[in-house]
C-alpha cells in the first residue's frame, strides 16, 4: 500500500524517524514548517518499508530523499514508489528533479528506467563524491476540465471550465419568474424546481460544450452556504456523478466561487482584497495565494443586496430591487440626508440601520404631506452604500499593503458601485477586476473555476460530503 504521510499520524512519523537513517530531520517539524514537503510511504502490514520525501513547489517537484530499507531492497518497492509518484504528479508539474551520488548505480539505473536524464554534475556534492542532477520532464501539463454545479439558491447551473480560467460552456436556469410572485425566494419551491431541472441543465451544458461526461476530469459543487434544500440537489447530483464516473469530488464554498468569477476575466494577482457583495453576503476577504482566504470583516445584520430589496419595498420597486434602484439612482440626485452605517475602524458592515433610516424618512415625509422623490431617494441611498463600501475597502487595501482589488457577488453588477471603485482604484494605482455581469449572480462557471484551485490545494472529498446552510470560508 502506498500512502501520503499525514502529519497527524504520530505512529508512522515515529517509524519513519527510527527506521530510516537518511531521515536527518525531524519529520513532524518538517511537515509543519515546510508546506511543500510531502512523504510518500510504502507500507506493508503496518510497517514502512520505503519512502520518498519530495517537495511539490507549484508546478515543479523535487525528490529530496528516497530510501527502501536494506532488507527489502530488490523487491520492486522503489520502482512502485517512483511509479506512484510520477503518476500522482502527471499533469500537475512541469518536471521532477533530484540529486544522486554518481556512484549509486542502482538508483541511477532506476531513475533512467523512468526517463530521468542527467542534467548537470555537481562536483564534490556528497563529501568528495560528485552528485548528478537529474530531471524528468513531464508531459505537457494536461488540460483539466472541471464540471461545476451550483444550486445554492434559485438558479440551477452547470458549467465546464478548462484549467480554472477558460469557460467552455455554462447553462443557468433561473427561477426568478417563479419566485417573483412571492416577493422573494421560497426555499421549498426552489428545491422542487432544482430537481425538475437538474438533468435538463446538465445535458444542455454538455451539448453546448460538445463534450461527454467521460471527458470531465473533476466535479466541483457548491456545498454551502445557501438554502439547504436547494444545495442538497446539487450535492446529490455531484456525488452521484463522481461515483458513476469515478471522478474526484471537490467541494467549493459559494463565496470562493464568487471570488473566482474574476479568474474567468483575468488571472487573479496576489495578495488581493475581495469585496463580496450579494443578497446574502457582505464580506471583505484577504487572499495571499490561491484558495487561501482570510475574512477581515462582514455584515453584522442585513447583506447589502437584502438592504436594496427592503428599501425597494418601501419605495414600491419590485423584487429584485437592486438593478432598478441602481437605474433610478442614476436619474436622481443626492438630496436626502441619510446616516453612514457603522462608520468605524472595523471591517464590518451594518445595513439594517440604513434601511430603517430610509423607512423613517419616507414616513416622515408622508406625514408632512410631502411627496418623496424616489429617484433622489434611490440616489441618496446608493451614495451612502457606496461611501461605506469604498471607505472600508480602501482602508483594508491600505492596511494590508495590497494593490489588487476584486469585487464579487450579485451586487457587484451595480453600476454605481463599479463606477466609484473604478475611479478610486485608478487614482490610487490599484489593479482592479470586476466579474463579467453575467457571472455576478449565481452560476456554475465560478464554481468550476474555484474548484480547479481547490483541487490543486488538495481539497478532494469522499461520498459522505454534506451541504451546509452556514459555512465558514476557509
Amino acid at each position: 500500500m502506498i500512502v501520503e504521510l499525514d502529519k497527524n499520524n504520530k505512529e508512522l512519523i515515529e517509524q519513519l524517524e527510527h527506521h530510516f537513517h537518511y531521515v536527518l530531520m525531524d519529520v513532524l517539524s518538517d511537515l509543519e514548517s515546510n508546506p511543500f514537503s510531502n512523504y510518500l510511504l510504502y507500507i506493508d502490514n503496518g510497517d514502512i518499508k520505503g519512502y520518498i520525501n519530495y517537495y511539490l513547489m507549484y508546478d515543479r517537484a523535487e525528490i529530496a530523499n528516497f530510501d527502501v530499507l536494506i532488507e527489502y531492497q530488490n523487491q520492486g518497492i522503489g520502482t512502485k514508489l517512483l511509479d506512484n509518484l510520477i503518476k500522482k504528479l502527471e499533469g500537475k508539474v512541469i518536471n521532477i528533479t533530484l540529486e544522486v551520488r554518481c556512484d549509486n548505480e542502482k538508483a541511477i539505473s532506476l531513475y533512467k528506467k523512468f526517463n530521468f536524464i542527467d542534467k548537470a554534475l555537481r562536483k564534490n556534492y556528497y563529501n568528495g563524491i560528485d552528485g548528478i542532477l537529474m530531471e524528468r520532464s513531464m508531459d505537457k501539463m494536461k488540460d483539466v476540465y472541471v464540471l461545476g454545479i451550483e444550486s445554492s439558491c434559485d438558479e440551477t447551473s452547470f458549467s465546464i471550465v478548462k484549467n480554472g480560467c477558460e469557460e467552455i460552456a455554462t447553462v443557468v436556469s433561473s427561477q426568478i419568474d417563479i419566485h417573483k410572485d412571492y416577493g422573494g425566494v421560497v426555499p421549498e419551491i426552489a428545491s422542487r424546481a432544482h430537481v425538475k431541472n437538474v438533468t435538463f441543465v446538465l445535458e444542455e451544458c454538455l451539448t453546448k460544450a460538445h463534450m461527454t461526461m467521460d471527458e470531465i476530469d473533476l466535479i466541483a459543487v457548491s456545498n454551502g452556504p445557501g438554502l439547504i434544500g436547494s444545495l442538497l440537489v446539487g450535492l446529490e447530483s455531484a456525488k452521484t456523478l463522481a461515483w458513476l464516473y469515478h471522478k474526484p469530488l471537490i467541494p467549493v464554498h459559494h463565496i470562493a466561487g464568487h471570488i473566482y468569477a474574476n479568474n474567468l476575466v483575468k488571472r487573479l494577482s496576489f495578495p488581493l482584497i475581495a469585496l463580496v457583495i450579494s443578497g446574502g453576503h457582505t464580506e471583505l476577504i484577504y487572499m495571499d495565494k490561491d484558495y487561501s482566504f482570510k475574512k477581515l470583516g462582514s455584515t453584522l445584520d442585513d447583506a447589502v443586496g437584502e438592504c436594496y430589496d427592503k428599501v425597494g419595498k418601501v419605495i414600491d420597486v419590485d423584487y429584485p430591487a437592486g438593478p432598478k434602484i441602481d437605474k433610478m439612482a442614476h436619474e436622481g440626485s443626492h438630496t436626502y440626508n441619510l446616516p453612514m452605517p457603522l462608520n468605524d475602524a472595523s471591517y464590518n458592515f451594518s445595513f439594517s440601520g440604513l434601511k430603517s433610516a430610509v423607512i423613517n424618512l419616507v414616513h416622515n415625509e408622508e406625514q408632512r404631506g410631502k411627496e418623496i422623490n424616489k429617484e433622489d431617494l434611490a440616489c441618496s441611498f446608493q451614495e451612502v452604500v457606496v461611501d461605506i463600501l469604498t471607505k472600508k475597502t480602501l482602508n483594508a487595501l491600505d492596511e494590508y499593503h495590497v494593490k489588487n482589488l476584486i469585487l464579487a457577488g450579485g451586487v457587484s453588477a451595480n453600476r454605481g458601485i463599479r463606477e466609484r471603485f473604478a475611479n478610486l482604484c485608478e487614482n490610487k494605482n490599484i489593479n482592479y477586476t470586476f466579474p463579467e455581469i453575467k457571472y455576478c449572480t449565481d452560476n456554475a462557471a465560478m464554481i468550476a473555476a474555484a474548484g480547479y484551485y481547490a483541487y490543486l490545494d488538495g481539497r478532494v472529498a469522499d461520498y459522505t460530503l454534506n451541504a451546509y446552510s452556514n459555512m465558514e470560508l476557509k
Partner: protein
C-alpha cells in the same frame, strides 16, 4: 435482468440490487437527517460488495414519494442522474405502494405516513386492488373512508400513531418483482410525488380564492 432499487422517502435508506429474481444485496439503514451524507456512500458500497459496476444494471426503480420532501429529493436526484448518465430504464413507484407490497395479509392494507398537523399520506389496498389512491388527507377523513369500507384493516407505517400499526420493513425482492415491468420514463421526466403543494403555494391559492 438486474434492477437497482432506492427509497429515501422516510428517515430510512432502503436500497437493493435484484438480479433475475434474486436479491443480490440490500441496505436498510435508519439515517434520519444524515440521509444526505450517507446515501451515495452506502449505495456505492452496496455495488462494490457484489462486484457490480453502476453500468451493469438494466433498470432503476425509484420510490418518489410521498414522505419527507428533502428525503424524496435525495433518492430521486440520485436515480435521475444515474438513469440519465447511462441511459438506463427508470420507473417510479410510490412509497405507499412499496409499503403495501411488503405485508402478507388477507386484511385491507392501509400504508400511512405522518404528514403532521393531524394529516397523513395514505392509500387503501385490498389484495392487489387499490381502493384509495395515495393522497394527502386528514386522519379524520381517512377514518371516515375506512368506516365506509367497514372491514378489518392493517396500518403499515414507519411513524408513530395513536392506533395500532405494523412496522414497515420493506421486502425489496417482492416490491421489485411486483413493479419491474412498470413502464419506463425518460429520466428528465422523473420527478418527486409530493402529493402536497408548498405552504407558500397553498397560501397564495387561498388568497386568490
Amino acid at each position: 435482468m438486474t434492477i437497482f432499487y432506492i427509497d429515501t422517502t422516510s428517515s430510512y435508506l432502503y436500497t437493493g440490487i435484484v438480479q433475475d429474481n434474486k436479491l443480490l444485496n440490500e441496505k436498510k439503514e435508519k439515517l434520519g437527517h444524515n440521509l444526505s451524507i450517507y446515501t451515495v456512500d452506502i449505495v456505492s458500497k452496496m455495488f462494490e460488495e457484489v462486484n457490480l459496476e453502476p453500468k451493469d444494471i438494466d433498470k432503476i426503480i425509484v420510490v418518489n414519494g410521498p414522505g419527507s420532501f428533502t428525503g424524496i429529493r435525495i433518492g430521486v436526484t440520485l436515480a435521475k442522474i444515474y438513469a440519465w448518465s447511462f441511459k438506463k430504464e427508470i420507473t417510479t413507484i410510490s412509497s405507499l405502494e412499496a409499503m403495501a407490497k411488503s405485508v402478507d395479509t388477507e386484511k385491507i392494507i392501509v400504508p400511512i405516513i405522518d404528514a403532521r398537523r393531524n394529516a397523513c399520506y395514505a392509500a387503501i389496498y385490498h389484495q392487489d386492488k387499490c381502493l384509495l389512491e395515495g393522497c394527502y388527507l386528514t386522519l379524520e377523513k381517512l377514518s371516515l373512508f375506512l368506516k365506509g369500507i367497514g372491514e378489518d384493516y392493517l396500518f403499515v407505517t414507519n411513524d408513530k400513531f395513536d392506533f395500532e400499526t405494523v412496522e414497515y420493513n420493506p421486502n425489496i425482492l417482492k416490491i421489485v418483482n411486483a413493479y419491474k415491468d412498470r413502464e419506463s420514463f425518460n429520466a428528465h421526466l422523473i420527478n418527486p410525488l409530493y402529493l402536497k403543494l408548498t405552504e407558500a403555494e397553498e397560501n397564495k391559492l387561498k388568497e386568490e380564492n
